[in-house]
Amino acid sequence: MRTAYRPRTFVLELVMVATAVAFLFPVYALVTLAFKDPEQIANAPLSPPDPPSVDSFGTAWQSASLGSALLNSTLITVSSVVVLIVLGSLAAYFLARQAGRLSYSLYILFLVGIILPFQLGMIPLYQLVNDLGLLGTYQGMILFYTGIQLPFTVFLYTGFIRSLPADYTNAALIDGASHLQAFVHVIFPLLRPITGTVLILNAVHIWNDFFTPLLYLGGSGRETVPVRVFAFVNEYTSDYGLVAAGLVLAALPILVVFLLLQRYVIRGFSSGLKG
């Protein structure tokens, strides 16, 4: 109910801003910590840094090798998401448009993947990736994420495609286009909203995933950001300032991307999931 700005609205505004301030307290604690030297941390844990010191950031960036970790994370996330979009939309198009018991069973088979706990297949999969010679490689991670995230991706795409009228493709097909051409030129552009959702949900998940890259990439030199940060935090755990700086640096890239694209990200998270 977007009505006029009334005294009641002002009270609400105050309440909401106060909530946000309380909500941000942990972030404040972390960021100020990162700018303090050990003495300030010991004596004045909550006051603003005075004078602020940026030493910790340089040390953290170096010791956690965050530069290359960012590169690794970006490469793995972008490639996985692209493969997911291509494979997921194609499969969903088939599942949504092919009537029949077989394709329905296939759809259910994909849905099962959403609730399978990853621990169940963890060791056999590790064995398989090892046998394929893909341990410690980007390809191994991309293959893993594609497989793991396909169920959810297929689920989102299928639901969306089912809500589209079939007429457009029929028209194109009758025009003599091949199925692939019809998909590429007609269907895929129509999928833009849900593709945005798929892209954002998968990218956030893959970027932030921790356990699998720890298992698959540990010691390979291709570790992603969360793995490097985890090792770094464990190593310097008693040096709060340094740990805080490492955490701030590691969280910054995705937060910056989020702030730049906030409207799309928020829409991506909420749309497509709306029933």
Partner: protein, 431 residues
């Protein structure tokens, strides 16, 4: 969107390659696997160590490489819990590194007994240094008469203390349990936390019991472990109850920092280093971390924690430190064995032992021992040292159960009887 149109072909082709890979891997497995890669193979020796052995292991590898120009290695470390995860996944997949950290004795999923039973470790029995293993420690290195791990020696467990804090309170090193309580009382009155306890970190929870049971259990019943194995003894009703009650007494009298269950190992370390706390019960292997936390390394000393009021009964816990084993599946086993043989030489053992503040397995002439460990040496030579208890526990479940019940005791969620009953139940489970 154009770029995405082209991708399907690419990934389909890659997928076919992958499927090809599966087929190939399947064939190899059919031929018995492993052997196919041919000979010793190139590339560096892959080594995964435990965080606590880093200083010594790195020195040994560097030194060996200096002497053998053709030798190369790839060394990585991980803290205890990650080691467990990553290494076990690799072992499960038959992808073990050539050499890796293994805990001595039994009692953990990454222990010598458990792994050698699964045929995952290479027999080292023909190496010269294995002849020097004292009878009392054979159980740590050997299973069925075969030696499976190398370890540079014994680490002891006692109280690491801040000398300045002791001086400030005017107290001396205690030699009996009652003296220990008096010392704590005096420290507390001076506003110093007597004992820092970081029990949020699971492995720290066990240390005070480990320091006490040599006195409350083993001094009276040196064959306690055998009786346990035979089923004629239980934790409940043994000197373990005495030890746990003493643990709780320290808490009830306010001798620990506030909220030990919420305090981490690192926080406890820094308390002792800075003198905010006076003591922490710890293994000598972590001395370096305490020294790093103190203004000067000389501020810190170590003494055996007295468990009883009878000085003669105050035995100490002294256990073989985390070791190194050669994977049974390694294609470079010969190279790895040569390196282990190198580590077993007296000067190398000494160097490694010194780096991790432990007492060397054996030495020719005077061993170089960290001076802080001097008060412990006569216990070791006088056979009054008991290996860390878990090394003779039959499965990997007793130790984590011990961690959990101590946290429950500290949190007031169980009783000593209840805690020991749980440990007995875990002990009786099959390996």
């Amino acid at each position: 969107m154009a770029s995405e149109i082209i991708r399907p072909q690419v990934s389909r082709r890659r997928l076919l390659q992958l499927m090809g890979g599966v087929a190939v891997a399947g064939t190899l497995a059919g031929c018995g696997g492993g052997n196919s890669a041919g000979g010793s193979g190139g590339g560096p020796l892959k080594v995964i160590g435990a965080g606590s052995q880093e200083a010594g292991l790195r020195k040994a590898l560097d030194e060996y490489k200096k002497q053998n120009s053709s030798f190369d290695f790839n060394l990585s470390f991980s803290p205890a819990d990650q080691l467990q995860t990553a290494l076990r996944a690799q072992l499960a997949a038959g992808n073990a590194p050539d050499m890796h950290a293994v805990y001595p004795g039994n009692g953990s999923a990454m222990s010598m007994v458990q792994l050698s039973k699964a045929n995952l470790l290479t027999d080292l029995s023909d190496q010269a240094w294995t002849q020097k293993i004292p009878t009392g420690f054979k159980g740590a290195y050997q299973q069925d008469g075969k030696t499976f791990i190398f370890s540079p020696g014994t680490s002891v467990l006692g109280a690491i203390y801040n000398k300045k804090a002791f001086a400030k309170a005017g107290v001396e090193v205690p030699t009996t349990w009652s003296e220990l309580l008096t010392v704590c009382e005096t420290l507390k009155k001076k506003g110093i936390v007597p004992l820092a306890l970081g029990a949020q970190t699971p492995w720290v929870t066990q240390l005070i019991n480990y320091a006490l049971v040599p006195g409350t259990v083993y001094a009276k019943q040196p064959d306690f472990d055998d009786k346990m194995a035979a089923g004629s003894a239980t934790f409940a009703g043994s000197g373990w109850a005495d030890a746990m009650n003493k643990y709780l007494e320290l808490q009830k009298r306010g001798f620990f920092n506030d909220n030990p269950n919420g305090t981490t190992y690192e926080q406890a370390t820094s308390m002792v280093g800075t003198g905010k706390a006076a003591m922490a019960v710890q293994v000598s292997a972590v001395l370096q971390a305490y020294r790093d936390a103190a203004p000067s390394p000389d501020d810190l000393g170590m003494f055996p924690l007295p468990a009883t009021d009878t000085v003669a009964d105050n035995w100490i816990p002294g256990g073989i430190v985390v070791g190194l084993a050669v994977s049974a599946k390694s294609k470079k086993a010969d190279e790895a064995r040569k390196f282990i043989e190198f580590c077993g030489q007296p000067d190398m053992i000494n160097t490694w032992a010194e780096a991790v503040a432990c007492v060397p397995l054996y030495s020719e002439g005077e061993a170089k021992v960290d001076p802080v460990l001097k008060p412990f040496l006569h216990y070791l030579s006088g056979n009054k040292a008991v290996p860390f208890m878990d090394q003779r526990w039959p499965n990997a479940e007793v130790q984590p159960t011990h961690f959990a019940v101590v946290q429950e005791l500290l949190g007031g969620k169980t009783t000593v009887d209840g805690a020991l009953k749980k440990m007995d139940e875990a002990y009786r489970k099959t390996a």
